[in-house]
Each structure stands twice: as C-alpha cells, then as structure tokens.
C-alpha cells in the first residue's frame, strides 16, 4: 500500500512539474502575475511529493518488502540496516529516483531561499528546473519504475553486491548526486537568463552560491569515491582515470571554472557569455556522466547495471536539454556584452587564464574518455586510453594553473601590477624552491618531477597563507588591528583561503603517494616479520571469523619500529554468503607521514598466508586537503551576501568595509 502511495506521489509530482514549467514560462512572458505566483509553491509541492515517493521506497527496503522487484533484487534480510537503506540508491531505478529527489529539493530550495530574486527570473529558473524534472520523472515512470511489483514474491532477496556493502560507497553516490544535480540549478539560472536576455552582476551573484554548493558536494563525493577505491580495491591506488571517475571529474573542472568566472562576471561585469556557457557545460558534463555510466558505451570497472535502451533515453534527454540551452545561447549569446575593460595583468586576467587552463583540462579528459568510442564507431580499432595519456596531458596543464593560483589572489582588480605581485612572492618562491630541492636532495634524486610537485604544493600553500597574512596585515605593526581584521574577514574570503590551501595539501598528498609508495608482497607464516619503509610488520596470526552476512579470514599484524609496538592492523578477506563474492578489507593505519596499509590474501595450505604490505606516504593529506576544500565551500556559503533573504541594500556600515577585503572574496 505504501509503495502504491509512493508511485502515486511520483505521478502527481510529474503533473505538478508540468504545471510549474508552464506557468513559469508563460507567466513572465504574458505578464500574468497569477500564473507566476503559482511557480514557487508548485516547486515546493513537487519537492514534497518526490520526497514522499522516496520515503515510500526507503520504507520498502527497510521492511524488506520483497514483493517489490527492486527490493528483491537488491536487498536481503541478513543485510545490516545501514545497507538496507543505502540499497535504495545502490541500483538503477532507485538511483534515478534519488536523482529526481535531489533535483526537486534543489528546485524547492530555489523557491524557498530565492526571496530576493527578480520575480520573472525566479519563475523562469523554476520553470527550467521543472522541465528537467519532467524528463527525469517521465524516464522513471515509463522505463525504470522502482515500484514495480514482483509476483510471486521471493522468500528472501538476492543481496547486494558486497563491494557495495561499505560505508564509503553507501554515502558517495548521494554526495555525488548532490553535486551533479546541483549543477542543474546553475544550468536553470543560465537558461532562464538567456530566455530573459539579461545577465548582470546580480545574476552572477545569485548563481555563485548554487555553484559553490554543487562544487562542495562534488569535491566531497569525488574524494569519498576515491577513498573507497583506495581501501576497498586493496592495492593502494586511489585514482584510475576510469571513465566513471572521469565522468565525475569533468563536471568538477567545469564547476571550478564556473565558480571563478562568475566572480569576474559579478565584480567586473565581464565574461558574461563565457560564464553562461560554463554553467550550461557543467551540467551537460554531469548528464554526460550519467549517460556514460548507465548506457554501457564505455567499458568501466564500475559495472553499474548498464543497458543500451536506457542509454537511448538519457542520450535523447541530454541532447534535448543541452541542445535547447545551446540554441538559446547561439541566439542570445552574441548580445551579451560586458562593460568591463580588461587588463591581462590583473586579478580578472589571472582568473581568465586559469579558466582557460581548467576548460582545456576538462576538454582533454573528455577527449581521452571518449576517444575509444570514436575510434570504435569509425572502425579504426578498439583501444583503451589509460593513465599514461591522462597524466601526460593533464599534469602539465595543472602546473601553470597552480603557479597562477599563488599569484592571482595578490593582484588588484582592473589593473594589477604583475612585477609587484611577483616581488611580494619572492619569499614564497624561496620556500617552495627549498622544499623542492630538499626532497630532491634527501629523498629521491631519481625523480625530479616528484620533487617539483612537492615544491608546487609548498608554493601554493605558502602563497595562500601569505595572501591571507597580508590581507589581515600581519606584517604591519598593531596586533590588535590584525586580530580585528581576522575577525572581520568576510566568510567568502575564508572560503578561498581554505579551498586553495586544501588543494595545496591535497597536491602534496597526490604527489608523494604516487611517487614514493613502497610495497612488499610475500607469503608470511605467523611470526614472520617483513620491513617496509622502516616499519616492521609481524604477522601474529590469522583466523576465520563470522560477520553478520559474511565469513572472513582475519589477519593480525603488529607494527613495530625500533622495538616499540606502534599499531595493530587487522585486515580481512570477506566472502559474502549470498553471492559468494570475496572482497578485500585492507587494514589502514593513517599516520602524519602516510598510511600503513596491510592486506591479507589466501592461505597457502601450509600455515602461510599471502600478504601485501604498503607504506603510502602522505595519503591522509589528500583526504584532509579535500575536507578542507569542502569546509571552505561550506564557510563561503554562509557569507552574509548570500544569506537567506538578505536584502540587496546592505546597511551603511557594511558598505564602508575596506575594499581590500571585498576584493578578495572568492
């Protein structure tokens, strides 16, 4: 019964979305205020209805209602409650419903928080949002109904892929969807602005918080997914340039570019067409990701149930949605001229160059991801494009981008003084050079590139801290004044400092873990000791244990250094009862300098076990860096300028804030 209500709520939501789309477009067009007034309540109602539907599906999973086909195929009574819930989105139908849910929630949020939007713009934004919703809801109802019944209902479910039974994986799809679908909001803003033919500084300011929210979720989602691959796949790698990973990375690059170009549009009334273009392309890349993952046009280790017939729908949806936006862009775009003049040596100049680098990087990832398909279609053979291509193409573009990230925040808007900014950074440069040279001299003379990477990370971190210090005038007399400035820094500028600093820390982690990993693979008997990077791993023993729905071989390692017991590591090799599929649960002990990583494999029958032991330097820095970046986005979002219903007229005291602070908002 509850499932039928959920199904019904979904049908109602489709109807409401249709009303919302019609009134949102026709209202402002015909000047009919009664129609326009319906749009926001419709968006809220749609959000409530889709939420109800999602709650009904969750209820079916929690109560193990195996008369629903989706529950029978993806759940099991033995599964722990957490994974019963995450099973809701661990399959095609449920994940599409989650997509629709997040879309509707974003629409509801625009309706709720958008009190200070121009009414005509708000109506049109919500109309575009509703059009996207119609597409997704129709797709779910007509091709992927999660509420389809199964008769006869089986006695028990057929489980969940055990690789999916993991907290990292349980929570990374919702985060990624919050990011992907969050970009639908910026897309709607772009399309609405093109329909209106009006893009101004206010529009750019309204777009920024939504971009920021999506970007924060996307950053968190990508990091969580990478973390999952790192500990679950059991060999210490964390990024594989797999098509599915690229599918989440491309929108991230586009969103990062959008975040920065929207600043230029807001502050300098320039780059309008470009910002709109990025807003469209960021969502287009999100949809492309969905298409690539679900349609099976590309081979990926993430074997999500792919199905070409679903691919056709998603492709059609992508072409119609993005095509319509691009058609609007071709029609209205040429008239979007900015007033701001441009000096290449200025903060906006730096932002434009970085925008260019990010866009080209996204394009090269796109090319590498799609290249195998192009060749295949043209019958030029089957190839797979792997890490070597991406590393050679991507990394060289990120090097100038990171160097520039250190310089640009120190430059003025309009007309910067490049020589002055560079001169101010000479100490930062010396720190970076010393770090790079130190790594080269003391750690690894064979790999100059890795030492250079560490120097880049040091450069970015030092430059970011220096920029913050000079913004609060740390180097000038008057500590009280500095303290006052620290407390009055706008939240958005904290956001920039944290995001840039977080990236610096993450870059250090990525470089070190790629360049200086040490590993040791061998058969060990209880009592054997193997030394990896100065850590002595002793296998104390291994035993078979019973989990709630799996059986596991559990090993115990003691890690000593200089005769002192530091840690005990307990890796497992699990076999799930329902699917008989084995999974590796690596034991990971993070330390400041890196992760101790132990994996236990098969028994050799003579009392020995295959073990793999790694030291992965600075890996925790990657996750910490990503967390700091997300934190930066979160803090930036609470900036008073974005605050709910904040009137566009600010109190006079705020207007008098020093320009140096306002200029640094990022």
């Amino acid at each position: 019964m509850i499932s039928e209500l959920g199904h019904f709520a979904l049908i109602m939501a489709l109807g409401v979305a249709a009303v919302q789309a019609f009134t949102g477009l026709a209202g402002p067009w015909r000047g009919n205020e009664n129609w326009s007034a319906i749009v926001a309540p419709a968006a809220l109602l749609q959000a409530v209805l889709v939420s109800l539907s999602f709650a009904a599906l969750t209820h079916a999973f929690v109560t193990s209602d195996f008369s629903l086909a989706i529950v029978a195929n993806n759940s099991h009574t033995l599964k722990p409650m957490l994974y019963k819930v995450s099973g809701v989105w661990g399959n095609h139908e449920g994940s599409m419903l989650m997509w629709a849910l997040i879309l509707a929630l974003y629409g509801g949020a625009v309706a709720f928080f958008g009190g200070n939007l121009r009414p005509s713009l708000k109506a049109r934004v919500l109309a575009v949002q509703a059009l996207i919703g119609i597409g997704i809801l129709a797709f779910i109802l007509f091709t992927s109904n999660p509420f389809a019944r199964l008769s006869p209902a089986p006695f028990d479910g057929s489980g969940l892929n055990p690789l999916l039974q993991d907290p990292g994986l349980a929570f990374h799809p919702p985060l990624l969807y919050l990011g992907y679908v969050g970009l639908s909001t910026t897309f709607s803003f772009a399309a609405a602005a093109l329909i209106e033919g009006r893009i101004d500084a206010a529009w750019a300011r309204w777009v920024r918080p939504w971009t920021l929210a999506a970007w924060g979720f996307l950053t968190g989602g990508i990091a969580l997914g990478s973390w999952w691959a790192y500990y679950e796949l059991g060999w210490g790698g964390w990024w594989f340039w797999d098509p599915v990973e690229n599918a989440s990375f491309m929108p991230w690059l586009a969103a990062t570019a959008l975040l920065h170009s929207a600043i230029v549009s807001e502050k300098r009334d320039a780059l309008k067409a470009w910002t709109v273009f990025l807003a469209i392309i960021a969502f287009a890349l999100s949809l492309l990701g969905t298409f690539l993952v679900r349609s099976g046009v590309l081979t990926s280790v993430h074997a999500f149930a792919s199905d070409p017939s679903r691919g056709v729908f998603i492709l059609a949806f992508l072409v119609v949605t993005v095509g319509a936006a691009f058609a609007l862009f071709a029609w209205r775009g040429p008239n979007l001229t900015g007033r701001g003049t441009f000096d290449p040596i200025s903060r906006e100049g730096g932002l434009v160059i970085n925008n260019f680098l990010l866009t080209v990087a996204a394009a090269s990832v796109l090319l590498g991801t799609l290249y195998p398909m192009f060749l295949d279609v043209l019958d030029l053979g089957k190839v797979s494009v792997g890490a070597p291509y991406f590393n050679t193409v991507f990394i060289p573009m990120m090097i100038p981008a990171i160097i520039l990230m250190g310089v640009a925040p120190l430059m003025q808007w309009k007309r910067g003084d490049g020589a002055k900014a560079v001169a101010r950074l000479k100490f930062v440069f010396m720190i970076a050079a010393a770090v790079g040279f130190g790594f080269w001299l003391f750690l690894d003379r064979a790999s100059a590139l890795a030492s250079f990477g560490m120097a880049l990370a040091a450069w970015l971190l030092a430059a970011t801290l220096y920029e913050f210090a000079s913004r609060v005038r740390l180097f000038e007399p008057g500590l009280a004044d500095t303290w006052r400035r620290i407390r009055h820094q706008p939240r958005a500028s904290w956001g920039m400092t944290l995001a840039h600093g977080g990236l610096a820390i993450a870059v250090a982690g990525m470089t070190a873990s790629s360049a200086w990993r040490s590993e040791s693979i061998q058969v060990m008997h209880p009592g054997d000791t193997v030394t990896v990077s100065g850590y002595e791993f002793t296998l104390k023993g291994a035993e078979t244990i019973q989990g709630p729905n799996y059986q596991a071989l559990q090993g115990r390692f003691e890690v000593n250094q200089g005769g002192r017991l530091l840690y005990t590591l307990v890796p497992e090799k699990r076999t799930y009862l329902v699917s008989r599929q084995p999974t590796t649960e690596a034991a990971i002990q993070p330390t400041f300098l890196g992760d101790l990583y132990a994996v236990i494999g098969d028994a050799d029958g003579k009392g020995g076990y295959v073990t793999r032991l790694y030291f992965n330097p600075l890996v925790p820095w990657m996750w910490t860096g990503a967390l700091i970046m997300v934190l930066g986005a979160g803090i930036s979002l609470t900036d008073r300028r974005y605050r709910i219903g904040a009137p566009s007229k600010r109190p006079a005291r705020q207007e008098a804030e020093p320009e140096a602070g306002a200029g640094a908002k990022a």
């Binding site: 349609s295 099976g296 590309l298 040429p334 599929q581």
Partner: protein
C-alpha cells in the same frame, strides 16, 4: 557574423557528439580484440610447474582446437572462473591449456591447482610473463581460442561462465572444428 558562428559552435559540437553516441550505443564495447587475432601463436616455451613433468610450449597447440587460459593463484576472478573450466574438462568439451602467470613463488600455483582441481592438459609456469607477453595479455583471467593450425582466433577478457561460453565461445569452437 564570425561572432554568431562562435556562439553556434557549442550546439554544432553537441550535434556531432550526439551522432557518435548514437552510433556508439549500437556497439558492444566489451569486445577488446587483440592485434594477435588471426595470427599464429608466437613461439614460446614455458617450464613445468612444480610437481608436473611437462611444461607448455607453442608446439603443443597444433592439430586441435584448444583453449589457452591465463590464470594465477593471486587472481580472484580466476577463482570464480575455475569451477566452470573444471566442468568443461570433466565433460571433455575441449583441451584447455593453462599459463600460470606471475606467481610470487613456485609453489603457490601448483598448490592452488591441487586444492581446487586441475582442469588443464598442460600448465606452463610464467613468472616472467614470457607467455603472457606472447599472447598480449592485459590481465587475468584471459582466454584464447586457438584453431587446429595454431592460429589465435578469439580472445576473451575476463571470466568465462556458462552464459558467455554458450553464447559466444562455444559457437566459435564448433565453427573452427568444422573447418
């Protein structure tokens, strides 16, 4: 005018991409053919694994349709594939030859086979990837159908199971036998 064209570019690019995607959807991307298909098996000679007398060389593959399977005791997917290979051998479907790839030590491969059964006519020990390189292997498990003349006719990446055996591999074997 040039400006108009510039703004038209995105939709044109999207159009081209859409055509590619539509064509791409008609394809099965999981077939990764090897350059070695329809070429003779490159010459190789692998030592016997511990406990066996005879190794495995390219000369063993002449005169009958055979399946060459790359496996390793370290490879989980091979473990999943193993029971089906046992079944093929038990039912005398075709001779299967094994390349025991990249073992950590000489004993783990033989022990793995002893515990789970040995479906192979001959097994070659391949710690240095000589045989694997000869076949252009990208990972384990991988299997090759070799015809009577010793020519590689088909490459299968990943686990062989009942479904793909009946649907794809076995029909190829039957066709080659009729030649």
């Amino acid at each position: 005018m040039i400006k108009r064209l510039l703004f038209l570019t995105p939709i044109l690019v999207l159009g081209v991409l859409a055509i590619y995607f539509t064509l791409g959807l008609q394809r099965d991307s999981k077939i990764l053919p090897s350059v070695l298909i329809n070429t003779p098996v490159p010459e190789f000679s692998l030592a016997a694994i511990e406990g066996a007398e005879q190794g495995f060389s390219s000369l063993d593959l002449k005169g009958k349709v055979t399946l060459v399977n790359i496996f390793g005791s370290w490879c989980y997917a091979c473990l999943a594939e193993h029971p089906f290979l046992m079944q093929l051998t038990k039912n005398k479907v075709l001779p299967i030859y094994g390349i025991d790839w990249r073992e950590q030590d000489r004993t783990s491969g033989p022990r793995w086979l002893k515990r789970r059964g040995n479906p192979y006519v001959l097994v070659g020990d391949d710690p240095k990837s000589r045989g694997a390189i000869a076949f252009g292997v990208t990972g384990a498990p991988e299997s090759f159908i070799v015809d009577k003349a010793g020519i590689i006719r088909y490459k299968h990446i990943g686990v062989i199971n009942e479904a793909n055996w009946n649907q794809t591999l076995f029909p190829i074997v039957q066709k080659l036998r009729q030649k």
